[in-house]
């Protein structure tokens, strides 16, 4: 069931993502994957892990 509002929702998200720079898009992709891996951890533990891991992962961005 994809009604008109669902479609609008998808379009709005697509618009946000298409207006995002390649570097920021890459950050979004990396951080969501990392957060998902750490969901089972407490928020404080996940925060430290994500902060340290992301700081390394973004080194690919020039």
């Amino acid at each position: 069931m994809t009604d008109k509002l669902d479609q609008e929702e998808i379009e709005q998200i697509q618009e946000i993502l298409s207006g995002t720079s390649a570097n920021a898009y890459e950050v979004i992709r990396m951080v969501i994957a990392l957060e998902r891996e750490n969901l089972h951890k407490s928020e404080a533990l996940a925060r430290n892990t994500v902060r340290d891991e992301m700081a390394k992962k973004v080194e690919g961005i020039a």
């Binding site: 920021a24 950050v27 957060e35 998902r36 902060r51 973004v58």
Partner: protein, 689 residues
């Protein structure tokens, strides 16, 4: 996900190995387990959550005593003993077997703290079982623990969902269902990443001290923002609490005969006041928009006249519009002959004269611009007049609305005074409590407002500090790269914040529509549910001219809570087929296991709930006592029954009054309560069809 079977081995009251196979056919999707109060139903509900997540609900006593006590007590010292729960289920075209077990040799009368072991296997196409690594993580992905309370339902607690504290549970469930937790955490954690990176930046020598200072200020500001956010969250919670209290007290007032009419009048006036306030705010927004787009006209009272006078002067001097067009001269030169027939040969004086004129001739574009300018300038005065008229219109309507608001507020205040003058002590007491709650709520609203303003101010300070850091000349290529990374992180954070809001409100809207549809199917009243923007489950009475909060009876609360569970299951099913792939949420079909859903309900609500349950999910397991369910439930469920079991409760006690010794189902009789048995515990028997 569909349950195939559950097997209990020496698990709490269940001695030996006992197995239940669940109904799975779409038309007969209900499995009922009949058990007396205290006979092992809630343990069975807990067996599911223990096997999947290792948790027992807080009302389970002696949580360490997992091994059946009869087995434990009768075993000789040193005997290795075990208890386990094994669930076989189907999910995403695979069959899984999950087994959680405890193993310990018997030493003394008390069981040691259990150290359960979890195993998960997947049945491969050849039939062999393959162990699954990280079983707990895998299970949490299939059916997250945070959603478990909605799929393993304790009827005595599910009502809490519709109370004001339920909003947080509902919000969390929605986030988990959609996979929004990861996004929400990402939004919280990305600034920490940027902060860490900033600390690695090096500025040019003279700026290094300034950079350090700015970084310190940035961290301080961030801390202050977090403090204000904490303050706001606490105030919001308290505000919700007072809102719920106000709602309850209002409802109570309508139930007091002496106050009923006045209270209804107050509802009407409050509703009108809300509408007038909304309309006034809209007018104020429109007025602000007009000032933003056309406000400049107010500063141009003389400029149009000056521009027109200057242009007129140019026109009178023959400079505007230009007396001669450049395109006309170009054409004559190209033709080589004047319109009077004079040849315009190369180097001729006539041609030279024309070429000197060419430089003074006007361009068509200048002509067009002149005409346009004149049109625009001439209309400015008209626009100014229109803007003033529109502003006067807005001011008038806003003033009228303010006057109306004052009148309504006065009317509402008068009702309060009248209520307090009524002879009924109960009315006076309720009104006083209402006033106190409203005043306390207003205080919280003020705290929230102040916190919001402070957060806004600090956010501006933070942005300014970030700009200053960005503006500093960095020392080396590495620092420049760090700057780029920070920019990408900040951009990602902004995009994720926008996406999270869109997704949250989208799913709220879909769930709201589902809850309304489901509730309409079963409700016995002319009420309408709403999943409000803050994820509170509300129930409205639409019978009068004004929508008012409906009194939430146990029956309506149960139906509303079940409608919410049904909407979650529906959304999970839809999200799998709908291809919402950007954020990986929890998708698929989920069963629901329900304990004590018929307790404390009147017959008409039992009937409604029994009719509703099979529609709730593709597989429904109901744990109930015969006394709670009654004949009505059995009749309603009969067409959808796929499997039935009796949980026989054994007790060594002999002086139990009014025990139901047997249960007759499908024409067969089963032991229900065995009084004076040689053991204490529970035993499961399948009902023959």
């Amino acid at each position: 996900m569909k349950f195939i079977s559950v097997e209990l081995e020496n698990f709490r009251p269940y001695q030996g190995t006992q197995k239940i196979s669940f109904a799975q056919a779409p038309d007969t999707n209900v499995t009922v387990l009949w058990g007396t109060n205290g006979g092992g139903k809630t343990t069975l509900l807990n067996a599911f959550t223990w096997a999947l997540y290792g948790v027992l609900s807080s009302d389970v006593e002696n949580q360490d005593q997992l091994i059946n006590t009869t087995v434990w007590n009768n075993a000789p010292e040193g005997t290795p003993l075990t208890a386990s729960v094994t669930i076989e289920f189907e999910h995403g075209n695979h069959v899984y077997i999950v087994k959680r077990s405890v193993y310990t040799p018997k030493h003394g009368p008390f069981q040691p703290r259990p150290r359960p072991e979890l195993q998960l296997w997947r049945r491969e196409s050849g039939g062999n079982l393959e162990p699954v690594l990280n079983p707990s993580g895998h299970l949490d992905q299939i059916m997250p623990q945070r959603l478990s309370r909605f799929f393993f339902v304790n009827g005595e607690r599910i009502e809490a969902l519709v109370k004001h504290e339920g909003g947080d549970d509902v919000r969390e469930a929605v986030k988990t269902l959609l996979g929004l937790e990861a996004m929400e955490r990402a939004i919280m954690h990305l600034p920490k990443v940027a902060e860490k990176l900033r600390r690695g930046m090096k500025a040019e020598d003279a700026s290094q001290h300034k950079l350090d200072d700015l970084l310190r200020q940035l961290e301080d500001t961030e801390r202050m923002i977090q403090e204000q956010q904490r303050r706001r969250t606490a105030a919001e919670k308290e505000q919700k609490h007072f809102d719920a209290e106000i709602k309850l007290l209002n409802l109570r007032m309508t139930q007091l005969t002496e106050a009923k009419e006045l209270q209804h009048n107050r509802y009407r006036l409050e509703d009108q006041l809300k509408r007038v306030q909304t309309a006034r705010q809209e007018q104020e927004e429109e007025r602000a928009k007009l000032v933003g787009t056309s406000g400049f006209l107010a500063f141009l009272p003389t400029l149009p006249g000056k521009v027109l006078a200057a242009c007129e002067e140019l026109r009178e001097r023959g400079e505007l519009p230009a007396p001669l067009k450049r395109a006309f001269i170009d054409e004559l030169i190209e033709r080589g002959e004047c319109i009077c027939g004079t040849p315009l040969g190369e180097g001729s004086p006539h041609r030279a004269a024309l070429e000197s004129w060419r430089a003074r001739a006007g361009l068509a574009e200048v002509e067009a611009a002149w005409n346009q300018l004149r049109g625009t300038v001439e209309s400015i005065e008209e626009q100014r007049v229109q803007m003033y008229d529109a502003l006067r219109g807005f001011d008038g309507r806003i003033a009228e609305a303010q006057e109306e608001e004052r009148r309504l507020e006065h009317g509402i205040g008068e009702i309060g005074i009248k209520l307090k003058r009524l002879p009924s002590e109960e009315v006076v007491e309720t009104e006083e409590k209402l006033e106190a709650a409203k005043s306390a709520r207003d205080e919280k609203v003020a705290v929230i407002g102040a916190a919001n303003a402070e957060i806004q101010r600090l956010s501006d300070v933070k942005e300014d500090l970030k700009k200053q850091i960005k503006g500093l000349e960095v020392k080396d290529a590495r620092s420049r790269r760090i700057k780029n990374r920070i920019m990408a992180i900040e951009e990602a954070g902004r995009a994720l914040t926008q996406i999270l809001e869109i997704l949250s409100q989208g799913v709220r809207r879909r769930l709201d529509a589902r809850i309304r549809d489901l509730y309409r199917l079963v409700s016995l009243k002319n009420y309408e549910p709403e999943l409000a923007p803050d994820f509170d489950l509300e129930l409205w009475d639409l019978s009068g001219s004004v929508r008012v909060a409906a009194p939430k009876s146990t029956g309506e609360n149960m139906l509303l809570s079940l409608a919410f569970v049904g909407s979650l299951i529906g959304e999970a099913r839809e999200s799998q087929s709908g291809g919402r792939t950007f954020i990986q949420g929890i998708g698929g079909d989920f069963p629901v296991v329900m304990d004590a859903v018929f307790g404390n309900l009147d017959d008409d609500y039992r009937k409604a709930v029994a009719d509703f349950l099979p529609k709730l999910a593709s597989q429904v397991v109901i744990l109930t006592s015969k006394a709670q369910a009654g004949e009505i439930v059995e009749q309603e469920l009969r067409p959808r029954l796929g499997k039935q079991y009796v949980i026989t409760a054994h007790t060594t006690k002999t002086d139990v009054s009014s025990a139901t010794e047997t249960l007759t189902l499908n024409g067969n009789t089963y032991p229900y309560q065995v009084v004076g048995s040689n053991r204490t515990g529970a035993e499961i028997t399948e009902v023959r069809s």
